[in-house]
């Protein structure tokens, strides 16, 4: 067995996995709080990438360049996407909070289609090039054969975001309110927790995370269009379910497992059936471990 090749596939899988994780974290957080599969989450990721592209265009036109542009673009994208997430919850999900779950799910699918087509009409249906503004780190030169600078940034960001969210949920007041709301919304409310605010915050955090993912992945891949959110969203959903939906560590673990599965399968078997294999894997996991890898026992919602 060729070790170089194996290592390449391993890192490729790690990159994919980290990308899925950035999206899956928001997915699983929202599910943890209100048990809604937010199908429009992938679209928020796409909107983040588009926002960043526009900001980069404007700043470049104004004569700026370099990493600062990317940082500013990422921050603006996160804020803008957070506003989208907040608004989306208010208009598409909040009115349906007491309705049967299927209604909210349909509303989510509608939201997803609406946002896709809105971006297609407002922007373009074509692929747009996304500039790579991630610097060439000097320390990566020796490993240039295996790993690109954008990949290092993606790994680091995923790790930081995961750690940050975990700390937030474990130790802050908002985190406690989120866990309480996830376990028993009515009881949390009766103890003075403003659950509307908790749910809004969850959407804001999840959307900002997704937008950050959108910016990094667009930098890595080099192009975007209005449809990128769809498959990314579905894959992140698969990853979240694999890991045990509602659990943050589960989302990351599920994403990595999915990333490696796809990478090794593509590398050793065939790249034609990459997505088919990812979903086949999901079916197998769900048959043998219906509550995901981190199972119900170990899983703590949110």
């Amino acid at each position: 067995m060729n070790f170089d090749y194996f290592f390449q596939l391993f890192l490729g899988g790690l990159t994919r996995g980290s990308i899925y994780a950035l999206i899956a974290l928001g997915y699983t957080m929202v599910y943890g709080i209100i048990e809604l599969i937010n199908f429009a989450h992938g679209e928020i990721y796409m909107i983040g990438a588009f926002t960043a592209l526009i900001v980069i265009g404007v700043l470049t036109f104004a004569g700026w360049n370099g990493t600062a542009v990317l940082v500013i673009a990422a921050i603006v994208a996160m804020l803008y996407a957070a506003a989208y997430g907040w608004t989306m919850e208010k208009i598409a999900y909040k009115p349906l909070r007491k309705a049967p779950r299927l209604s909210a799910l349909l509303s989510a699918i509608g939201m997803s289609l609406f946002l896709q087509n809105y971006v297609r009409l407002a922007q373009t249906a074509n692929f747009l090039p996304f500039p790579n503004l991630i610097p060439d780190f000097a320390f990566l030169k020796p490993a240039a054969r295996f790993i690109r600078p954008s990949e290092i940034v993606i790994y680091a960001t995923t790790a930081i975001v995961m750690a940050g969210l975990t700390l937030l949920i474990k130790f802050t007041r908002m985190g406690k309110a989120m866990r309480a709301t996830a376990q028993d919304r009515e009881m949390a409310q009766l103890l003075g927790v403003d659950v509307d605010r908790v749910i809004s915050t969850t959407f804001v955090l999840g959307s900002a995370t997704a937008a950050l993912g959108g910016v990094l992945i667009a930098s890595h891949v080099g192009q975007i269009n209005f449809y990128i959110g769809f498959l990314a969203g579905i894959k992140a959903f698969v990853a979240a379910v694999l890991g045990g939906i509602g659990s943050l560590p589960g989302a990351v673990l599920g994403s990595l497992v999915l990333g490696w599965t796809e990478s090794f399968f593509t590398g050793y078997v065939s790249s034609d059936y990459e997505d088919a294999f990812a979903f086949l894997f999901l079916v197998l996991i769900l048959i043998f471990r219906p509550s995901g890898i981190l199972g119900r026992k170990a899983m703590e919602k949110v």
């Binding site: 007041r173 908002m174 406690k176 309480a180 376990q183 028993d184 103890l191 003075g192 927790v193």
Partner: protein, 265 residues
Amino acid sequence: MADMAAPALEVSQVTMDFGGLRAVERVDLVVRPRETVALIGPNGAGKTTLFNCITGIYSPTQGRIQLTAADGRVMALKGLKPNQVTECGIARTFQNIRLFQNMTVLENVMIGRHCRLRSGIFSAILRTSAMRREEAQVVKESYRLLQRFGLARHVNEFAKNLPYGAQRRLEIARAMATEPSVLLLDEPAAGMNAQETQELVTMINQLKASEGLAILLIEHDMRLVMQLSDRIYVMDYGKLIARGTPQEISRDPAVIKAYLGEEEQ
């Protein structure tokens, strides 16, 4: 008797309809500070529905619910969200235990304390020093509260691992963490043995004495009701059918017919 004191909680002509079903019909009820009032009645009489109306889970179809704080402020509760009702000063427990099972005992109580704090969400995320001081204060107060309820040695255990009696006590401790002026207890003695029930009586009497608390409780254990209550309201089919002292209620023919009669035969 505290009959002369101004009521802490005043429910006037409250009606609650679900579609064509009238679950609560024109109920009047008052609870005064330092008073324990029992609400009794057969299953399905509308007692828990009335609790849900008071705490903002349901918005009553008609009527008025008013809370007077210790400092004399008068607040209309109808139409408020449950968390706003809690902020006004009403706390509640449920007949089935509804602790946050996957959180520690301390965290359960801290959640209740948080509604009394100032710092907003941004300082909570940024962890400013004022916010940190406040949080340390919350931990201290929560710990003191747990001590009072005999739960100090369980602080860092998950709520789900506590013995039954301790879980019940924790529910009341958590409710008290919100600093209520009125405490609603929905069948607090459900599932308790004789000794645990006796401890509960002691605890409720202490709460009443030390905090000037007004307590409204739903209970099926008649001995407990007679022992604890200053006054009793009786509901049947959504309506109040009697009110009075325990002695009066135990002699009331309508009550005996609707409720007590079955137990005494």
